[in-house]
């Protein structure tokens, strides 16, 4: 029959439409997170590092220049002459200005000197250069007669080296104070050069680190982007597992979880498709039977009255099937609403039994019902539908005059309803597919949806259902349908 597969794709899709994606919170960008996480601390470290490097270099430069300054002071000190002793001494010096030129490293900074007695009387040099007043600090690298300090000369800041030079000659002995001052241009230029060099080098370093970080992060997140693109490019309805052999190990749990979800969706989708196909098939059967019945009546093979009777039965069967399909859809709908209330199962069962009592009496069934009040959380219609289906099945399978018992027992947390019929039970091969739609053994007697509806309802109520053969001395004496539901 080619008509068995009426391309059910679209309606099935609508039935399983996924819930809308929740509005996304401000998603953190993994890439930005990684970049700031790497670059920010590295950048801060480099700034601190630059500052300390600059200070160190500056200190080294100052020390070196101070030594040249001291050397020039010493060369002046060596050209001193003295007459007289101590208090009465007369210092003399002839320092050609050219002598200092040797120490001027370039023409940017200028050197000035001043030679004075200990009391500050000018012997030679620039009088405007303020006389040194202070004490010689004890500084290990230099002799005890040397000091350096900053001063101002002719409104220019200067660095001054001071040397206490003992002078002795055949005619006298005295202490001379030799000061040499140097303007700061050269030092400043050099400091600036060092600063720029340091900054430049650190900037290159930072750029290299940034480049490496960007490239690495880009490469690391590439599998994620590739996977997203792959998933986006999928045709509608493609739920096959994601194959990403090149994905990094960190992504595997996500891929695995996604594949599991896809598997479940595929299963659901398959069930829906099968249901639609089976339902269509089930609806065709009574229509085909009707057609045959009508035709034989038209041909006169059959009395019109008999034909109408048979047609009536066929229509009844089709109506049952349609109603059951609607019931299944309604369970699904109620499951989503889920406004359950506490209902006494015993009352529902008794009322259903009363409804079906004509059927029981018709088969002269030895019926018995025994209940205790049992509140369960449910929807009244669902509970009625569940009980009706189970009791209907039990009556159907109980032979005429056979026993049929309905019992409700309960403990603190569960209610158990047992329907024991005296029918043939279920075969092992059937019991596996019992709850699948249209799988029931004898389709002529039922819609094949009853147990599927029962299971849906029981699952909605977080209970369980089981159908087991009752075996006495190796003989099946009937079927026990047991529904266990949590107490409300």
């Amino acid at each position: 029959m080619s008509g068995r597969d009426p391309a059910p794709g679209h309606s099935a899709w609508q039935a399983t439409e996924l819930p809308r994606e929740p509005t996304r919170q401000r998603a953190i960008s993994l890439r930005r997170y990684l970049l700031t996480g790497i670059l920010l601390p590295v950048g801060l470290l480099i700034i601190v590092n630059t500052a300390s490097l600059y200070r160190q270099a500056l200190a080294a430069v100052n020390t070196a220049y101070d030594r040249t300054l001291l050397a020039s002071a010493k060369s002046i000190g060596e050209q001193l002459d003295v007459t007289g002793y101590d208090e009465q001494s007369q210092l003399r010096v002839t320092v050609p200005y050219a002598a200092l030129e040797a120490f001027e490293a370039d023409n940017q900074s200028r050197l000035f000197y001043r030679v004075s007695s200990l009391k500050g009387e000018l012997v030679s040099g620039f009088e405007q250069l303020p006389f040194w007043r202070g004490e010689i600090p004890i500084r290990p690298p230099y002799s005890a007669l040397v000091d350096f300090y900053d001063d101002v000369f002719r409104e220019d800041p200067v660095r001054v080296a001071v040397l206490l030079q003992p002078v002795a000659s055949g005619k006298g002995r005295a202490m001379a104070v030799v000061q040499v001052a140097e303007t700061l241009e050269l030092r400043k230029t050099l400091a600036r050069k060092i600063l720029f060099d340091t900054l430049w080098r650190q900037a290159v370093l930072l750029a290299v680190i940034a480049l490496v970080a960007v490239v690495v992060v880009q490469r690391a997140t590439r599998p994620v982007r590739r996977l997203s693109a792959e998933l986006k490019a999928r045709p509608e309805g493609d739920l096959t597992a994601i194959a990403a052999p090149e994905a990094p190990r960190e992504l595997l749990p996500l891929i695995e979880a996604t594949n599991q979800v896809m598997g479940r969706l595929q299963h659901l989708l398959d069930n829906q498709k099968r249901f639609v196909r089976d339902a269509a098939h089930q609806l065709r059967t009574p229509l085909a039977v009707l057609k045959v019945q009508v035709q034989s009546a038209l041909r006169g093979d059959m009395e019109a009255r008999d034909a109408l009777g048979e047609i009536n039965q066929t229509v009844d069967r089709a109506t049952v099937l349609a109603n059951q399909m609607l019931a299944l859809a309604k369970v699904e709908q109620l499951r989503q609403q889920a406004d359950l209330q506490a209902i006494d199962l015993a009352q529902v069962v008794r009322s259903v039994a009363l409804d079906l009592s004509p059927l029981i009496a018709e088969k002269d069934i030895d019926f018995e019902i025994e209940t205790v009040p049992a509140q369960v959380r449910s929807h009244e219609w669902m509970l009625g539908e569940l009980t009706r289906n189970l009791l209907h099945n039990a009556i159907k399978h109980t032979p005429a005059g056979g026993p049929l018992a309905v019992r409700i027992v309960r403990d603190a947390s569960f209610v158990a309803m047992t329907l024991s019929d005296s029918g043939p039970g279920v075969s092992a091969e059937l019991s596996a597919r019992l709850y699948e739609p249209f799988s029931a053994g004898d389709v002529r007697h039922g819609s094949g949806l009853g147990l599927a509806i029962c299971r849906e309802i029981v699952e909605t109520m977080h209970g369980s259902i089981s159908l087991e053969n009752r075996v006495v001395h190796g003989q099946v004496t009937g079927l026990d349908a047991v529904v266990r539901l949590p107490v409300a």
């Binding site: 008794r350 039994a353 009592s357 004509p358 029981i360 009496a361 018709e362 002269d364 019926f367 019902i369």
Partner: protein, 45 residues
Amino acid sequence: MFPGETDVQYEAVEVVVYRLRKKLAHTGVTLVTLRGLGYLLKVDA
């Protein structure tokens, strides 16, 4: 028989049913017992 009463004497019911069954004999109507539920009048086919 015992409207609104909790102290129901089932034996009394059974006596009534027994008498009723006797009277219904050969009328084409039988009284079917549904234990735990009640009784049902059934017209024989």
